[in-house]
Symmetry: C6
Subunit: 273 residues, 6 copies
């Protein structure tokens, strides 16, 4: 009857492998316990600390379809729950990703939730207390979440400010985990595996990244993500001289200020020798 | 004639039990007297002090269908009263939750009303004085509320500010009740019952929560809700070590500041031993 | 030809009685003279001083259909004059309440006019000078107000500010009346009659209200309305202890500040004995 | 072909008399000369100084159909030029008042032009230089104004501010006239004629108004308009005591401040004796 | 196939004469050279310095169809490029003036470009570098400008501010010309020709205008345009006394301040004798 | 089935030549390595430093279809991904340029990305990490980018501010290159080739530009682009005197301030002799 058919869940057939994930603490055990009790989960941590991949890893491990929503300034409740669209002159209803996760079961993951509009938090409230329901005012439905439904959200505490934050009435609905960067040895292993550069060549890059992370809040806004280290290693593996790779993949992405850039280059020369 | 049929009231069949509620004062008697006189009710109190569950409890006890609306920045009067939608090329009218409560009788509950847009307060005015009417300008109807109609609203005084508050002309239309957290023994009983953890293990968690609530307004924005204590107890019951459960379910949801987190962990160690 | 038919005037059959109104000054005589000369009327006064009921009273007494519009932030000229709607694929015109009052005759009352958008004042201009016309630009009509048309507006001077006020070019189109609370004896009579509580029990409540009104502008934003005194008396009549009724119906609606609340409770104890 | 037919000009049949107007300077001769040369005209002056009636008077005297537009915050160029509307599934074009004045000839009068949105000034530019054209971008038409077309605008200099003003590029397209209140004797004659109160009783009211006008910019924002004096005289003629009429029609419309009101009442008592 | 046909270019038949233009510098030669090299042109200058007429003059002289767009606050890229409209139930595309100029060839002139919304500048970028293309994302077309296409924009530097200006990335795409008022003798000739007043009577008016222009930035925001001098001369030619014409056409359009007006009248008396 | 057919890629047939590009550093090699590893690329640099042409050059050299999007204040994610449009009463989907680049393969280039709305950055996230996917929530598709897909963005660090910048979570997804102006000799060669003016005549113009670039941040907001030097040389080649060409093509585009303009003219006279 819906002229625009229900959208099928993300095709699990194409990728049945569990994404690799290197844990840095008790996050896997905690996720499993939260899942056991169906408690909502909040992941906090800096850029590139692996929150999104962790969620993908756990969803695959638990066999849950994953509905990821990257939040932004204009994301509203209707983007999550669904909308009426015109189709052949008729108004039909199209589920949003949150509604799909509730109807079909699965893990709904809202990345960077503080970026979204305020009505998004409100739509989560009845799903994150003992009611576990999703009222769809526009269709008149009152969906009860199945046992296979779970919700996780993430945000970067460094980005919170007066205008963008989670109200206590929302925060206090989530069990929370703080994320941080990988320990040195594990980061070297991960970078080497993803870039194809051997661990010996990767180690000084990781040391440089760890050194630069200590400057966060002083000259640079955010620490170097593991992703950037992988980029640098990849460029080196592709034949770019190391200094040029470090400039392009690590230093330039961190700052636009000539003085800061010069300072970081100095640090790089000192660390890399 | 309406191609989109009137939405039936929330299915009472699925849940005919009265939600458990542990009173902390005279709120039940006061609610009943307000209901007897059909006076509008305003519930004030912090996050997690049980306002929403109290309303569900009283609605079930009085046998009133409950129409709950979680208010947010973009909620407008039309979201409460209803809208015209296109259906088969015709414009049809779909009642909003407030209109349904007036037509069908029942308790309409607007949660966090100060979050809503300003025109929401105005639509409540003729329903909250001796007229007890709801004019629907867009359909030309003038609905008289039946004797089975009552209205309750809530808000958290801690969130009021210059931009978001209730004007005296609205406030003075409601009998008001202030909510606070449960007394110690009752909170222990509630947490034990909801988490399945025995009262002896719950008691130190409640003591910690009570201790942390005294810090409100100093290092933390809002006190620990009973819900978070239930979360911590549930994780412990599921096998997570107590310290990790307290960190994930009580400390992390309260703050993102490393120093504050360390201070709260200190308090936790002191209280829990 | 209009698929959506003209809306009939508010059903006068259901309520042919004249709403009770206790005058506090010359407002009834002045209203009659303004009506005699068809002069527009502006009612000024605090919350709960009886402006809305006065208008209902005078409309009923003069036998005028009453079109009340509660103004708010998003109320625009089109909400007053009318709109084109889609109906069966055709665009049809639906009169707003102001247009209806002009077409059918009657008293159009705009409550809290300073809340409305600025274009609302402009649409009133040609109706409030010697032209007494309503140009409907969107339908091409130029309606002349019949002799049975009158306009009244109200606002609360306490809410005016730099952004929300009436321009002199609008204000100077209205004969104006200031409202204030009822004198003591009349207020006691009104509260007793509406709550069913005898005058002896009502008197101390009114004395408390009058005492609290003197605090306006100091600790509380607005004085206690007669409505709140009726609420307190009603709860007492329903069996609630007087102290609890005064807290719920008079003190809690006035403030959220613990210190102010304590101070008001002190005043209540002193006045009520 | 247009399903919504072109709107006929304002029905001149209903009112073929020339509205009375008492000149206070050379404005009639100047208007005629501007009309002779087809120069655009800008009328400046305070509330109630007779700008709107002057335009109606001149339009009738010169036999020009009058298209009046009261400008406001949301008035945009499309409100003046026209819009596409849906009619029977087809998009049809409906002329706005400016376009009608250009097509049919006549005087287009934009009252309080500084209130309108900025694109309104721009649409006037090609009509107010030697081109005298109105390009309708949405219909692809380029209308040349006929010799019977003239444009006049007005505004109140007291309302101009940083956000709301006329840019020099717009102002310098208009011949300008400043308006002020009528001289004493003429104002007495006008008020007497419009209110039906004899000149002897009107004189002290006019003297009071003239006295209060000298306070403009001190305690009151704007001087008393002649309209308010007519209101006061009308109420007196209807039987209201003079003091009450002066309070309701002159003092209350000027201020909400109790102290200012008391001061004005003092002045009234002194002037009226 | 387009139910709404392409709009024909502005009818050149109606006016094949070249608008008169009196040059004040090398602007004609520079325009021709820019045209020869197809370089975009930016005209800067105060109100009434003849930018718009200069463009009309050059377009006629070079035989280029002229597409003029008066920019304003709400003018967006889509107003220039085109829109989809509903026509008979089908979505059809209607070219905007910029697209027409690219398709048909001609001079596209954007008057007061700093007033337009920011996306307007962006749509000009690929047309004002060596690509000379106009990508129409909504229709999927990539239009190459023909050799007969040229673009000119103008703005008044006096109106630039922090919010409204041209970014260097836009400015540096245009060859620029500054405009100023005509030299004395040429201005006298132009005013005399356009007003029909003889040069002897015009000369003192021009001398007054030149004197008042020296006050710009002190008491008045902008100098007197030649248009205003033409107005004054026209009114004198029509029989208005010179002093009244100067007041209405020169002094009143410059200021609303009584003191400034008195000062300018003083200057006028001194200059005119 | 889509009534509005998929838009074909930009017609490569019309221009199969590789746009000329003169490198100033290792940018070509770095681009190739980033392409080899399919890493996203961020180009930073001032106006006119050749970023856009560099991208066109590399796309042509690598044989990649190029999808350029000039970002602006109102550019939203939907402008990149696509929209539903009404067609024959049916809702059809039309791909945006980013979606086309993902479906068809090719280089998607977002120019001045900091100008775009915030949701644009979010839509890039899953395309710029190891997932390389583009979820189209509105169509329910999950597009995997083909090996022939690459993404590049650019911005001008001088324009960044508190409101407009790239968040670290976005920046750290891109390998970055800083651009600057060409060395003197290369710039002379480029200008001579593009303008047709011989190198001897071009050299002093380039020297002037280089001299003026040192004033950036003092009197002028941005240095002279190579494009402006080409303009000046073109005008000279067309016969305009050098001084006039320099004024129109170099000095006027840099400033509106008379004093600054005089200072720059002074510098020009000194440099050009």
């Amino acid at each position: 009857m819906n002229a625009i058919p229900r959208l099928p869940a993300m095709p699990p057939a194409a990728d049945t492998t569990i994404p690799a994930y290197t844990a840095s603490g008790n996050e896997r055990f905690l996720f499993e316990k939260a899942w056991e009790k169906r408690l909502p989960l909040l992941l906090k941590g800096p850029t590139g600390s692996g929150k999104t991949r962790f969620v993908a890893h756990m969803a695959a491990k638990l066999g849950l379809p994953l509905f990821t929503v990257a939040c932004h300034d204009d994301l509203s409740a209707a983007d999550l729950t669904g909308r009426h669209l015109l189709k052949g002159g008729e108004t039909v209803w199209v589920d949003g990703p949150l509604t799909r996760a509730v109807r079909e079961g699965g893990l709904c993951y809202l990345d960077e939730i503080v970026e979204a509009r305020k009505d998004v938090a409100v739509v989560l409230h009845p799903l994150t207390d003992d009611r576990r329901i999703l009222p769809l005012e526009r269709t008149g439905e009152l969906l009860a979440a199945p046992p296979s439904f779970m919700i996780a959200v993430s945000y970067n505490p460094a980005y919170q400010n007066l205008l963008k934050n989670l109200k206590p009435s929302t925060r206090q609905r989530f069990v929370s985990i703080s994320f941080d960067f990988l320990p040195r040895e594990r980061e070297i292993a991960v970078v080497s595996q993803e870039s194809g550069l051997d661990e010996g060549a990767v180690a000084p890059l990781v040391d440089l990244a760890r050194r630069l992370r200590t400057l966060k809040g002083q000259d640079i806004e955010e620490g170097v993500s593991t992703r950037l280290v992988v980029y640098a290693a990849s460029l080196i593996a592709a034949g770019l001289p190391r200094a040029e790779a470090v400039t392009a993949a690590i230093i330039e992405p961190l700052t636009d200020e000539p003085e800061v850039r010069a300072g970081l280059a100095e640090v790089a020369r000192a660390v890399l020798g």
